[in-house]
């Protein structure tokens, strides 16, 4: 029983980390049709914000609160200056965001001296159930992820503004004809996605450490999650990232617990296996787990 709770917690917590990190990417990819290659660097900027706050003597949690606003504002700035010029050219947009990401990453690398920095969580420590102990911060991340994702879902489906966003994405010219300013909506959506990425980076950085490739580490898995879940909806990529996030520790647990599998799966191959499984699913469900048009 203890073992079961432990495995469930581990799978759930990494699943939530993936959802949190991918959600910003998902919003921008699904609602705007832009694959934002700078997403990993927005995550990095969120993490870097926490570092800057800590270095100036402010508490870590204040950095986490500020990160979504600062990164969101940065996203807004990028949208009005650069991104908006690329809506009509998806491939060029990928290249442009890739370039932006590269600039951000190398700048941050310079600012942190190319090093790795350990960052403490606002609440360190563990809680215990039976024999097993669990990280409090991972527990908090699970709860926060559920709250944030529910909030996003309700915002997009139940509010007037959410309806406008979806309308503007579905049929921009009709939306403009109805008097909706699509430019403003695009800018807002992009900033919102950036803010989510910043928040994700700020929340997960205590689990790892701050380094220039922090966001890059999740980017490939993030794109796979969007493919797996199906671009075009909000809940599709979220579900996709939850599945990818569950497979990562899931395969490792299978490998450790079942002797037969441990011969077949080295830790390195277990990582590869996540991709393999996802690609096989995409092969049989090319439209993704959830079809477009549900939201």
């Amino acid at each position: 029983m203890d073992e079961f709770i432990k495995v469930t917690f581990d799978i759930l917590s990494f699943s939530c980390i993936m959802v949190l990190v991918v959600s910003g990417l998902a919003i921008i990819a699904s609602l705007m049709g832009i694959f934002n290659f700078a997403h990993g660097e927005f995550v990095l900027l969120g993490a870097y914000t926490v570092f800057v706050f800590r270095e100036t003597g402010l508490p870590v949690w204040s950095g986490m609160l500020a990160a979504p606003f600062l990164v969101g504002a940065f996203g807004l700035l990028l949208e009005v200056t650069i991104i908006k010029r690329f809506y009509k050219a998806a491939i060029a947009a990928m290249l442009a965001t890739y370039a932006i990401g590269l600039i951000i990453r190398e700048t941050v690398r310079g600012l942190i001296g190319g090093k790795f920095w350990a960052i403490e969580a606002p609440i360190e420590g563990v809680f215990e159930i039976g024999e097993s102990s669990f990280s409090i911060w991972r527990g908090i991340i699970i709860i926060l992820t559920i709250i944030i994702m529910s909030g996003c879902y309700l915002f997009l489906t139940k509010t007037n503004y959410g309806l406008k966003i979806r309308g503007a994405m579905e049929n921009p010219s009709l939306a403009r004809a109805c008097g909706i300013s699509t430019n403003k909506l695009y800018a807002f959506t992009f900033a919102f996605g950036a803010a989510l990425a910043g928040l994700a980076g700020a929340l997960v950085v205590p689990l790892y450490s701050l380094f220039a490739e922090l966001g890059l580490r999740f980017l490939v898995q993030g794109f796979l999650a969007v493919m797996l879940g199906g671009a075009g909806t909000f809940e599709g990529p979220v579900l996709g990232s939850a599945v990818i996030g569950a497979m990562v520790p899931g395969f490792q647990w299978l490998r450790v617990e079942i002797p037969f599998i441990s011969y077949l799966l080295s830790p390195v191959f277990a990582e590869v296996f996540v991709f393999l499984t996802a690609i096989i699913i995409v092969k049989f469900r090319p439209q993704g787990l959830i079809k477009k048009g549900r939201i």
């Binding site: 432990k6 495995v7 581990d10 917590s13 990494f14 190398e106 700048t107 690398r109 310079g110 600012l111 001296g113 190319g114 090093k115 790795f116 920095w117 350990a118 403490e120 360190e124 563990v126 215990e128 097993s132 102990s133 669990f134 990280s135 991972r138 205590p206 689990l207 790892y208 450490s209 380094f211 490739e213 922090l214 580490r217 990562v248 520790p249 490792q252 647990w253 490998r255 450790v256 617990e257 080295s266 830790p267 390195v268 990582e271």
Partner: protein, 411 residues
């Protein structure tokens, strides 16, 4: 005051230039510009200066170590020049950035050999870098090569000298000590590359010889971020000691997850043989507390020569982020320059590669960081003092030292 000349920018004062570039260097921004720095001595000799090529990672992922190596090289050269040079001839340093990228490095290293015609090349930090540049230096370049980093052993190329500790040197004292402390069941979580794989062969042999047992040995992708299954296994297998060879970026996630299983509070211990004075940056204090390391030098080693050298380094580079430590290969770099000096002294100033190489092979009792070292003839490796230390509030307490531990390589 020495001054720095860059081949395409003339006469920039060293301090201001380096200050400005060091931050950018870490970002990889000046990589494309570097055509090699030439650091000329501030006095001259009729026979010309002795040219040392430094090939290290000023930019890219290994930049924090590479910059420490470059600063150490400048410090060692300044010490020797201030004391009158090598047999009256001053040392000139020529830096090429290997940019943490073996592909870029090969071309840059060839420039040291062909354009600058250096008398020796020191550098390379990762094993992949050493593998990439050793042939351009030693075989095609017919130049002496000194490799400064602690590494996995088995490098026996002629005219290539290793001045960092070998697996045997890092484990021979540490492992028996750990087992004597009551650690019987070992886990070896590792990054999946050459250094952990070969180091672990030695470690495992010494563990088993001393009555210990390895219950888990696994190799992970270098950037793996999720270790819950492995730390769960470490707990359920009742492991006493974790011999860690995971490196950043995977390291942060592992140490945190291990800590959170209650491994440390239940009496488990951990060792990591590249942890040094820099580790406080990338390992959280509570995860570092009580961890063992074994290296050729710690700042807490009380040795007059080392104390003076460390003070001199800190005076030359006040407040620098790049410390003179063992894990970054900086102590190996210092040892390498002293080794070359001793070799040239022995040949009476003859800089011919074969002559210097033959002399270096027999060099004994040279002062370095952490105490004297001596080459073991015919092996290309050095016997040196090794220190087992334990992290205590950000400081490494020396708990055991061993004099002149043999490298046990290439015999």
């Amino acid at each position: 005051m020495t001054e720095i000349k860059k081949s395409n920018v003339n006469d920039t004062s060293r301090r201001s230039f380096l200050k400005g570039t060091s931050a950018l260097a870490a970002a990889g921004w000046i990589g494309a510009l570097t055509g090699g720095f030439v650091l000329k001595p501030d006095w001259a000799h009729a026979a010309g200066s002795i040219k040392m090529g430094i090939a290290t990672d000023i930019t890219g992922g290994i930049a924090p170590s590479g910059n420490a190596n470059w600063q150490t090289a400048q410090f060692a050269a300044k010490q020797i020049n201030d004391a009158g040079g090598i047999l009256g001839r001053p040392i000139e340093l020529i830096l090429e950035d290997t940019a943490s990228d073996p592909g870029i490095a090969v071309g840059n290293v060839r420039r040291l050999v062909e354009r600058h015609n250096v008398d020796v090349i020191l550098g390379g930090i990762t094993s992949s870098m050493r593998e990439a540049i050793k042939n351009p230096i030693v075989k095609r370049g017919k130049t002496l090569y000194i490799y400064p980093q602690l590494y996995e052993g088995q490098e026996c190329t002629p005219h290539l000298y290793c001045t960092g500790p070998t697996p045997y040197q890092q484990c021979a004292e540490l492992i028996p000590y750990l087992i004597a402390q009551g650690n019987k069941r070992f886990a070896m979580p590792s990054a999946n590359y050459r250094w952990p794989q070969l180091l672990n062969i030695w470690t495992k042999r010494i563990i088993e010889e001393h009555g210990g047992e390895v219950v888990l040995e696994e190799y992970f992708p270098i950037d793996q971020v999720e270790y819950s299954a492995t730390v769960g296994k470490i707990k359920s297998e009742k492991v006493d000691h974790v011999f860690l060879t995971i490196i950043p970026p995977g390291l942060g996630a592992f140490t945190k997850q291990l800590y959170e299983t209650g491994f440390h509070s239940n009496g488990g211990t951990l060792s990591c043989v590249y942890y040094d004075e820099n580790s406080v940056n990338y390992v959280a204090p509570r995860e570092l507390e009580g961890v063992y390391s074994c290296l050729d030098y710690f700042h807490t080693v009380d040795d007059t020569f080392s104390n003076n050298a460390l003070a001199g380094y800190n005076e030359m580079w006040p407040g620098s982020n790049y410390k003179l430590t063992a894990g970054t290969a900086a102590t190996g770099m210092y040892r390498g320059i002293k080794l070359f000096e001793a070799g040239v002294n022995a040949t009476n100033g003859d800089l011919d590669r074969e002559a210097v190489s033959a002399a270096i092979d027999g060099v004994t009792n040279v002062q370095g960081m952490g105490g004297e070292f001596s080459m073991v003839p015919g092996t290309g490796h050095a016997a040196m003092n090794m220190y087992v230390a334990q992290a205590n509030g950000g400081v490494w307490d020396i708990i055991k030292s061993a004099n002149q531990v043999p490298p046990n390589e290439c015999a």
